[in-house]
């Protein structure tokens, strides 16, 4: 069954642009990315967007669909309201390049600041033994497909522009994956506090809500990191002493 939908797609360069309306005939089961491709093939061959896998695995096709940060390839048209025009626009927290494409290079810069994995020595038998129960939580963070939807919604970045001081939820999750890696022997707490700026997160959980991989970024990564930072920088014996003596 095919029907015609009205789409409003943001077109332009470096934030100079506007929404263009397209009437597109769509078939059952189509996702937003299919519709964008159909517009390219028929009306606007130079309509810019990123995509690769078309299966929610590569994190390339992030955009805001009806204002909601989403993967275009995993957003089925029949899940969107049928009585309204559907809008598709680029992620807002990153510099605009063209049409639906933004400049996400800041994320790569942040990633590079994270020191590489530093394994402890191998066991005497030449192996690295780790048990599934030990790696489960690390594997959760490593599911990240770097779609940067979480970075896009985090108000510390989106509204307060803390790009210099704050790594954002994606890279806090990555830091957690290293910090909790059974083999990693590096001390990452100072960086998590200073470079990563874990303190800028005030636990709104907006990142967790948009994560297409359903990673519990706030509960499982950020809160434990905050606790580890607190343990290190607020010496418990001193704190106890303060409580007992009433000294501030």
């Amino acid at each position: 069954m095919s029907r015609t939908v009205k789409m409003k797609v943001y077109r332009g360069e470096q934030n100079v642009g506007q929404f263009h309306e397209y009437d597109v005939s769509i078939d059952d089961g189509m996702v937003v990315l299919d519709v964008i491709h159909r517009i390219q093939a028929t009306e606007a061959p130079d309509l810019a967007c990123r995509w690769n896998c078309k299966a929610g695995k590569c994190g390339s096709c992030s955009a805001e669909v009806n204002g909601k940060p989403s993967l275009m390839c995993m957003t089925r048209m029949d899940t969107l309201p049928q009585d309204k025009i559907i809008t598709v626009e680029p992620l807002k927290a990153f510099p605009h390049v063209r049409d639906l494409v933004t400049d996400v290079s800041w994320n790569y810069t942040v990633n590079k600041k994270i020191r590489p994995f530093k394994p402890r020595p191998k066991a005497a038998d030449g192996t690295h033994r780790m048990y599934q129960y030990e790696v489960d939580r690390v594997q959760e963070f490593r599911k990240c497909i770097e779609c940067y939807l979480c970075q896009n919604v985090c108000h510390a970045l989106r509204n307060h522009g803390k790009h210099e001081e704050f790594a954002g939820p994606r890279f806090l999750a990555r830091l957690a994956s290293l910090e909790m890696h059974p083999l990693d022997s590096d001390d990452r707490i100072p960086f998590i506090k200073e470079g990563g700026g874990v303190g800028f997160c005030n636990i709104t959980k907006c990142c967790t809500e948009v994560c297409p991989e359903h990673i519990h970024i706030t509960d499982n990564a950020i809160i434990p990191l905050k606790e580890r930072v607190a343990d290190r920088y607020y010496d418990p014996i001193q704190m106890l002493f303060r409580v007992l003596t009433g000294n501030k």
Binding site: G29, A41, T42, P45, D46, F117, K143
Partner: protein
Amino acid sequence: MAQYTTHEFDVLVVGAGGAGLRAAIESAALGAKTAVVMKSLLGKAHTVMAEGGAAAALQNADDRDSWQTHFRDTMKGGKQLNFYRMAELHAKEAPDRIRELEEWGAVFDRTPNGLINQRNFGGHTYPRLAHVGDRTGLEMIRTLQDKVVHMAAEIFMEMTITHLLKNGNRIAGALAYSRVTGEFHLFKAKAIVLATGGGGKAFAITSNSWEYSGDGQALAWRSCAELLDMEFVQFHPTGMVWPLSVRGTLVTEGVRGEGGVLLNKDGRRFMFDYIPEAFRNDVAATEEEANQWVAEVAVGKRATVRRPPELLTRDVVARSIRAEVQAGRGSPHGGAFLDIASRRTAADIQRKLPSMYHQFKQLANVDITKEAMEVGPTCHYMMGGIRVEAETAMSTLPGLFAAGEVAAGLHGANRLGGNSLSDLLVFGRRAGWGRPSTRRRNPRFQPDQQEIEKAIADNLACFARKGGENPYTVHRELQDMMQDNVGIVRTESELKHALAKLDEFEKRVANLSVDGARAYNPGWNLAMDLRSMVVTSRAIAMAALERKESRGGHSRIDYPDYDKNFANVNHILSNKDGVMTLRAEPLPKVSDDLKQYVEEA
């Protein structure tokens, strides 16, 4: 004069999938000034999509495994057409390459005693695939990516190489355009490693992304390096068939590895009807035996009986599904049913196959823990590609190397699942060595200035041309033509028709018109990629016409059986003054120490 920015490197790696990143890590570690160029962003290459695992005889899940068995399985799966030396190096080195990933931070699923777990896959005698649920490629690319950014390698994202440049008969550099700005970049290099992956985007039903236009194969052929075994294209048996918009999207073989069965519309487990003689002793004879195997592996035991026929090699399973559909026993949307729901618990399925669960839930409204999936063959992988030397990964053009899917030789007529990810690591690393002489002592060669100017003019011609065709239309038609005539089963008349059509497509591609400007213009990008698709498609069709037999990924209706005359020859495609020519060459003879592991083909 045309405008461009010049860069100078020792080694230019084209492609940032597993093979390219592994090559770059090696090359940078050896002190060569290294660049990595890719069409997409870092971390988005095809490798990220790989699901099932990487094959290596680690002996963690079954200590009966060995590199010799892995070698034997690879040769058998490839119908003995593999370059045995590559299969040998691959089987021997894969375990170290996997352990090295762990050393770099990869977190594979674990065995009960804390080692890297391994799963069963088609054609592998023992559980051999190191994996992370069904997102192994993501784990691999992320590990390599996080490693490479701390090395002395410069990363160029969203940049497409369109021409290799030579100086006499030696590689001297390459020309690229930035997809973001549309500007040109000249890379001068002593050695170039092509790690550009496959070319499935020339087919209508495919698991491959837009990047897979066969650029590397075409670039190499244009520069007069030889291509090998191009007729062997792998159609993966299980792609999604419904809804139409996701037709072709891969359903990992891991589903069958975890016990999934294939059924026709009458509920018959039809794979028992299609067991080839050569594999008769490798698979279960009855459903009871097959079920026992699943019961054993599900609880992590060593299998004591033979595996289900669903785990036969991909060529066999893909043809069987097609035959069932042709016989009118297909599923409602023209595929077969793949059922895991009745085989494993919902919890097991969600833990072992989480991304398949989500993929079907979100894209097809199917809950795979409750219902069967509908699946059918999809163009997936190219066994053929650039001819390389096993030890060095060098092509027949001095200074040009190739590794990963773009290279040929390891997989012969059919690739075993899981052998690609390990291939990327083993031969990516070897390609990264370069030949020491190409790096240190040799000077950098100066690309010919006229060649540069011509390359840039070539790339821009479609902007100036008015009234030419739209690249999207031509692409769609090329895909349909290839799917219909050079697809999963082939005949002489269709292949001849395809070659005649490709002459037309070549002209049409040279006559495209593109709207808009150069900055981030996908229409222009597609016009560039189509030039590669036409070359790669022609190589496939030519070699397919010449191989008058059926073997592995190549099936001829007019020659349905193996033919001894083709059992020991490879087809080599070369460039004679711009014209593609083909010759047959005898396979290298398997060395005496390995003879015991290979069988008559």
